[in-house]
Amino acid sequence: MRSKKDPDRSRQAKGNFSRRGFIRGVGIGGGALGTGLLENAAEAAPATAASAGPGPVPITLNINGKPVNLTVEPRVTLLDALRNRLDLTGAKRVCDRGTCGACTVLMNGKSVYSCSVLAIDAQGKAIETIEGIAEPGKLHPVSAAFWNHDAQQCGYCTPGFVMAAKGFLAEHPNPNLEDVEHGLGGNLCRCGTYMGVRQAVLEAARTLKTQGGKNG
């Protein structure tokens, strides 16, 4: 194929854009999960206001109310940081192009596609993932409603749907069916669970209201 993609694809960055720190910090032991695969922060260039990278950079993310330190290249998406570095695998990688919604998380309370956010760019924002919305062993009212209405089959889209629904209900506490259909237009399901999802979101709205609007 005669590709007309940018011609310098295979070329490594040069000049000002040095690849300092890139790779040097890895490869030994592979790193344990939970703190990031690119362990050696000392060898990674620190992020400054002006520039960071292209090699691994220490960053701090505020995830589910807690600061989390990790070291990633700037090109790592928030989704891949969550899944591959932090073992937070509720958000799924499905289309990986900001279309399907399976990777939905909340940033400052608003639903976003974490596949289309750079992890480094998510610093300073309150990131909420499905792992953080309920106490261990308990279900958030939105999750419970999904269960009650069988709004899941294979379940791979479900965490993204739950997070999109949670964000939607924060903005629309009294939705009707039409609102739900418009408000969850950013998520796709392949098994065909939409009938259940509609009812689940309406039920979750009622539950959240009787609980005094405590949506997480």
Binding site: M1, S3, R9, I23, V26, G29, G30, G31, L33, E73, R75, V76, R83, N84, D87, T89, G90, K92, R93, V94, C95, D96, R97, T99, C100, T129, I130, A134, L139, H140, S143, A144, F146, W147, N148, D150, Q152, Q153, C154, G155, Y156, C157, T158, P159, V162, V180, H182, L184, N187, L188, C189, R190, C191, G192, T193, Y194, M195, G196, V197, R198
Partner: protein
Amino acid sequence: MANTPDYSWPPMEARKVIGQSPKRLDGPAKASGRARYSSDLNPKDLLFGVYLTCPHAHARVTSVDTSAAEKIQGVTAVHVVSPAGTEIQWQGTEVAAVAAVTEEIARDAVGAIKVVYEVLPHLVKEEDVAQAGARAKAAGEILKGDPAAAFQQAAVVSEGHYGIPVITHCCLEPHGQTIQWQGDSVWAWPSTQDVTHYAGQLGQNLKVPAANVKVKMDYIGGGFGSKFSPDSWGEVCARLSQKSGGRPVRLFLDRATEQRIAGNRPSAYADIKIGGGKDGTITAWESHSWATGGFTGGGSPPLPYILDDSNHPIPNKRLVHTAISTNTGPFRAWRAPNNQQAAYLTCSAVEDFAAKAGLDPLGVFKLNLQYAPKVRQDLYGYQFDKAAELSEWKKLWKLRGQSAGPVKRGLGLGFSAWGGGGHTSQCNVTLHADGSVQVDIGTQDLGTGTRTIITQVAAETLGLPMAAIKLTIGSNDLPPDNASGGSTTVGGVSASTRKAAVNALAKLFDAAAPALGATADQLEAANGQIRVKGSPSKSLTWTAACKKIGAAGKIAETGINDQRNPSRELISSGTGGVQVADVSVDIETGIVKINRYVAVQDCGLIINPRLAESQVYGAVIMGISTALFERRFMDAATGAMLNADMEFYKLAGIGDIGEIKVYMDIRPENDKRGVIGLGEPPAIAICAAVGNAVANAIGVRVPHIPMTPDHVLDALEGRNA
């Protein structure tokens, strides 16, 4: 055991757990994000696998240079899948794979592999059979009666062209696995519809004894018929692990590759001619069909669908089929293979015939049930009437094209048949002396509710609440079960579980009988007790009864369903369904909206109505998605799949499906037949019903699925020539 135990289901009115709708057991795990799919696993020292795939539809690999990739720090293994000399027959074919300590490094390494191809001519499109040249191969002709004469004598003759495109499975969890191959042991965490047989197949590819391959899968993110084998990526992943010193490697396809090579439904196109009487009786059928399922061509869908019983078929027919080999990703089993195509082609042609005759298609379909299998004729008759009632057919249906205004409403019919049955399955039920109950079965839950169903059957049989049952599935250490395909899982596992539980209970009765002063055959299990039938006061609690288990400390019994000789007292096969689409078509935009969709489905004995309905809703929603949106776009010049994504490979969203009404036909005569799988049957007729509804609304046939604005407006504005 002296007599064969009575395994049959308790009568409908006596069931305590079966027939109830407990929520799915894995619901909390899935709805909280805690469920761990194989693609979610992060074992210690995990490496990331990435594929390099071929951009060409047809090419010969001239050379593969991996030297630069191997030098990149962090790369642990490079494996060439298609070495020099390999002839590649479709875009997306795997050429090489890399494992590295991060996914980003693995991708960099893939980008550094240099492949030289000799690009060869390709064919990727099959809509126009005339363009296929030598790639079109005659694939059979069937002649019965004298169709030419029958058409001449027919009072009404209709002709039409119809097509249903290739669509992709588009499982949300892509194909792939995590594998660790260390020493002589292989641990595999795949995304598979066949946990039991995965080890044997992978072991064969790796030349490792199946006994050394451990397979585990808790959850699978969609399969729909496309995930039966370990595939080449299972082997490649294992080799990457081995080359990386035995570290685990996670290798899942990216979305574009998933769309290109990991499964699709073959297309089917046909020119169909129907002849018959003024009353709508069909007397002659002629079809020229063609299809592709990729490089191997495409088989003929069974035409005419359902109306073709071998003892009393349409008397005159001629079927000619052409298989077209294309340089496109290979087809895989898709929810009711070939039935969706057959239903679409047949129901469309019958609707056109009815319209030509000026008749209500409801009557024409019913009249021609004379050609359907005898055993199914009454069932379909009932279902057509029920579907008509629920869709308000009599009130809403008008002759084709009679709907007024720019937004036109129409109704359309489709019907289906499916086998089902129960696959081969073994279940072990262990009753421990402390009263705990263990159920083991090497099956998988595709999201159909298999876990819940098995637990319900065990609880029903043992007279216990579901919470008392500890079920384990999803590993090849467990008793063998078959692949989940063909709607055979619920039949298989419900039969094997029922039998294992009955067998175990018989042993428990033997142990408990002396304490109750009764014989084993006088005992029953109910409400958490073992008690004497007719004397409920003579009872032991479940726990007390289990204390009577002897020195072995447990009762372990097996139940088996053999697919070739199935447990007929428990399960059955053969379902029918009738569906009605009620649509609105905006003729100024060509946009089709579903107002209401009615699905009447025969389903045998229902173990869990909630889950059964979910299956039907799911099948219908997926069907609506295929009827309105989905098609694979291949580019003739470049051979590329242009919409290998989820942006232009369009799936229906939550607002795109209208209102769906499911009617489960659970009349006692159906319940008596036992358990029948539901994954496939309700997924068959949707394109047929929607296409017919659109034709009814706008007055002209839109030949090709999906019912998109381009197709609808092309038909309305006369561009179908």
